[in-house]
């Protein structure tokens, strides 16, 4: 087990290196000049531009620039923005917001998705099942951008106007967990729908298994047959999906954080791409890649816990 974890972590190193190189190259390839864009519509003074290009190695060829970055990163220096702020301190201050958002969304996804999925699976072919399926289809087809703005308007603005009570804050993180509820739901929306469908299929499939027939033949009450014998088996693919989805949720936070003005790394990433703050973009995306890798590792380890047939040597 320990060896397996170690091997997986070692495998992560080339993945992370490759990811940084790729992202660095993509930001490098973006059209436009970062220094010039700092001045907006105005023309940047020649001497300032030259000094900054020199300071940030912008005149060097791509691979030299990347070398400067990656050798710094190995010494714990993840670079600075053009305004001189350390990238590591930006990430440190914003990462928590995104983590809060992603985990709130993950919990919502697990509770609502699995709950609705079980409900539909146990009423397969009936009206409730069809209703759940139809609503997940709607949730899947409407993009986050739309659900975000619509829910913000309806549940945030309109509801407050009509009742006078603020059910869901629409911007910022001043209210703690409360302010994450609406954005987390928006962020989790599509995932909830997918997980609902996955849960429904997985449980329905499991209920047809031979060992379920055995459990019934043993005289087990239906609650035990479904809640213990079927659910434990049906959960296995769901855990995989949930784990892999944590990475997606953190990456997907870019849009949601922008809509709800949450000061997280998604919003920061959005701005940094816009401003071509190469070290910030690379730092954040690499961090996301790391989250993805760790989440997948945890999923694989959980897999062995849930399914005794799987062993890691």
């Amino acid at each position: 087990m320990g060896r397996y974890i170690l091997r997986r972590l070692l495998q992560a190193i080339p993945v992370l290196l490759g990811a940084t190189l790729l992202i660095y190259a993509i930001v490098f390839a973006l059209p436009g000049d970062p220094i010039a864009s700092m001045y907006g519509d105005k023309r940047a003074p020649e001497n300032v531009v030259n000094a900054m290009r020199e300071q940030y190695h912008l005149n060097d060829p791509f691979i030299v620039q990347y070398w400067h970055y990656i050798s710094g990163a190995f010494q714990g220096n993840f670079g600075r923005t053009f305004a001189g702020v350390e990238v590591s301190s930006i990430i440190a201050s914003k990462f928590q917001v995104t983590l809060n958002l992603a985990f709130t969304a993950l919990v919502m996804e697990a509770v609502i998705g699995v709950g609705l999925g079980l409900y539909a699976a146990l009423r397969r072919g009936r009206a409730q099942d069809t209703m759940v399926l139809a609503s997940t289809l709607v949730l899947i087809s409407v993009p986050t951008l739309v659900t975000g703005f619509v829910l913000q308007l309806l549940l945030g603005v309109k509801l407050k106007q009509s009742t006078g009570i603020e059910f869901f804050p629409i911007s910022g993180v001043a209210d703690g967990l409360h302010s994450y509820l609406l954005p987390a739901f928006v962020l989790a929306g599509t995932s909830i729908a997918y997980l609902t469908r996955l849960t429904r299929t997985s449980l329905a499939e499991t209920l047809r298994a031979d060992y379920i027939r055995t459990a019934v033949a043993k005289g087990m009450p239906r609650r035990r047959v479904v809640g213990r014998h079927a659910l434990r088996n049906a959960l296995i693919p769901l855990v995989t999906y949930l784990g892999a989805d944590l990475g997606t949720l953190m990456g997907g936070a870019v849009i949601t954080e922008t809509i709800f003005n949450l000061p997280g790394i998604g919003q920061e990433l959005f701005r940094s791409v816009y401003e071509r703050q190469q070290p910030v973009v690379v730092g954040i995306v690499t961090l996301l890649v790391l989250v993805y890798i760790l989440a997948n590792l945890i999923v694989d380890l959980l897999y062995a816990v849930l399914d005794p047939r799987i062993r890691y040597e």
């Binding site: 072919g125 298994a209 031979d210 060992y211 027939r213 055995t214 459990a215 019934v216 033949a217 043993k218 005289g219 087990m220 009450p221 035990r224 014998h229 434990r232 088996n233 849930l306 399914d307 005794p308 047939r309």
Partner: protein, 351 residues
Amino acid sequence: MNQSTPPIPAWGIPDPVRGVTGTEPLLAVDDLHVEFATRRGTVKAVNGVSYALNPGETLAVLGESGSGKSVTAQAIMGILDAPQARIPRGRIRFRGTDLLRLKEDARAQVRGRRIAMVFQDALSALNPVFTVGSQIAEMFRVHQGTSRRDAEARAVELMDRVRIPGARQRLHDYPHQFSGGMRQRIMIAMAIALDPEVLIADEPTTALDVTVQAQIMELLAEVQRDSGMGMILITHDLGVVADVADKIVVMYGGRIVENALVHDVYRTPAHPYTKGLLKSIPRVDRKGRELYAISGTPPNLLDMPPGCAFAPRCPYRQDNCTTEAPPLYRIGPTRGSACHYWREVLDGSHG
């Protein structure tokens, strides 16, 4: 509900315990019909099956896939696939009570506790994510409210009884860590946990290799001798039947084509299908000669031919076979054959 007497009355076999014939059997299936609703129409899987089982007796139900032998067993257990399966007619009397008229919770009292079942493929029939110990102990915990420790202790006893070596150490192993034969022993341990009065074994040895098959059959026979329960042994293997069964029911196309004491069937089959089955057993003294096979294919349950279901494959076929369905003729005190020409079959003409 059909209240008229069935063509063959309850088994008139002397009961060694009570010494009388005609008393209420332990389990009696009476004119059972089971059908399944499918997209392509209604599949009539069981069409008027009747058989009876007395305590301490082993009844072999023989037939090929789709003959309705397993479906009948599932109807007895009450584990037919819920929405599609329907029982339009028939009774299943267990100690005089019609199980089909019981409410689900009363039925659940019988299931697993008084009538238990062993399934064909123990690997898929055991839950892969729970230890075998917990799956056996569950019987005591759920049905009798036994504490975890006591239930585990009794699980170990059961595993010893079905002769699993090192039972105590293997209590916390998972099904996949056992061999096929050992897994089937665990299935049996689970089934006999609560001393059921009826044990249904649905092709318990089909998934096993031959040497292990014999061991499992021996174990089942031994368990039955010790407990005096009635056993229904479902199989398509005539070789398995001879050693353990007292009487035999041969099914074809959802009907019983022959029922008899087991040695009668082997000596003189009274139905062409049974005869064909017996002839298709490979024999050492006929080595080198071509193996006999019943020609043709089993009937399509969606579209049963009128008349005898076996007629298209039957060497004894006459004109009326394709128009008149033969009833189960009573041909002796303990025998029945659903063939218009059972006399010819018995005499061995056309052979």
